[in-house]
Symmetry: C2
Subunit: 137 residues, 2 copies
């Protein structure tokens, strides 16, 4: 399913000019985006509240997913096209660069199998790696 089709279908999202611009920002980037970056790129015509709400909506729809950020800010990356509101689980690692503060989704890593522990129920496993990214190495 194409991303614009998902935008239309899921939750009856309306295809507004702002949302198209926002989606393009993600598609034109090879990494995740912070609100600050989006604010800068999208121009100050659009309010930060609009950005926060759109990100929220996009996340619920399975268009984007939140990724960890070195400074604990809201940060999002595109999902693969298989995600949707009810199935929205990723099996890739996230890499945080200590130097450029970027976060990257890394599909190349074999996601570790974690064996159960008595007394716990595991629902989601996240692997976060810190270090230096190709640009900063």
């Amino acid at each position: 399913m194409s991303i614009s089709k998902k935008l239309l279908n899921n939750y009856g999202l309306r295809n507004t000019a702002f949302r198209k611009k926002l989606l393009q920002l993600f598609q034109n980037s090879d990494s995740s985006l912070t609100v600050e970056y989006i604010k800068d790129k999208i121009g100050r015509n659009n309010d930060k509240v609009t950005i926060y709400r759109a990100l929220n909506t996009f996340e619920k729809s399975g268009l984007i997913h939140q990724v960890p950020d070195r400074n604990n800010l809201s940060r999002y990356a595109l999902c693969n096209v298989e995600c949707n509101p009810s199935n929205h689980i990723h099996h890739h690692a996230h890499f945080i660069c200590d130097y450029c503060d970027n976060t990257l989704c890394i599909e190349e890593i074999d996601f570790p199998k974690i064996k159960k522990i008595k007394g716990f129920k595991f629902k989601k496993i996240e692997l976060i790696i810190q270090g230096s990214c190709p640009k900063c190495l």
Copy 2:
């Protein structure tokens, strides 16, 4: 080396009444603590700034380490006694409970070996698991 001795030795930390109380809170708990919890337990005589600064100092000394929190709040847990200012790396997973919002250090999990990827340098690997803890299962 005992924990209170570490408090004295490392970084020349002064053994104040507040710090002893704070350290005891950690020692008397089997999980990690938030600032909110500390505020409640320690009484309102002590200012939140004092708490934040003490936590910061404790972390630098290798007494405690920050753990992930479900709501992105500051949350800390005791280190094992081997930690110190210059060697402060943990090889255990962190478990976040979706129901009681607690975070637990889990030593029982075999920490996965992640193989290198060309272009990256990995310095630290974190494993974060979500689900329900024994109390909430």
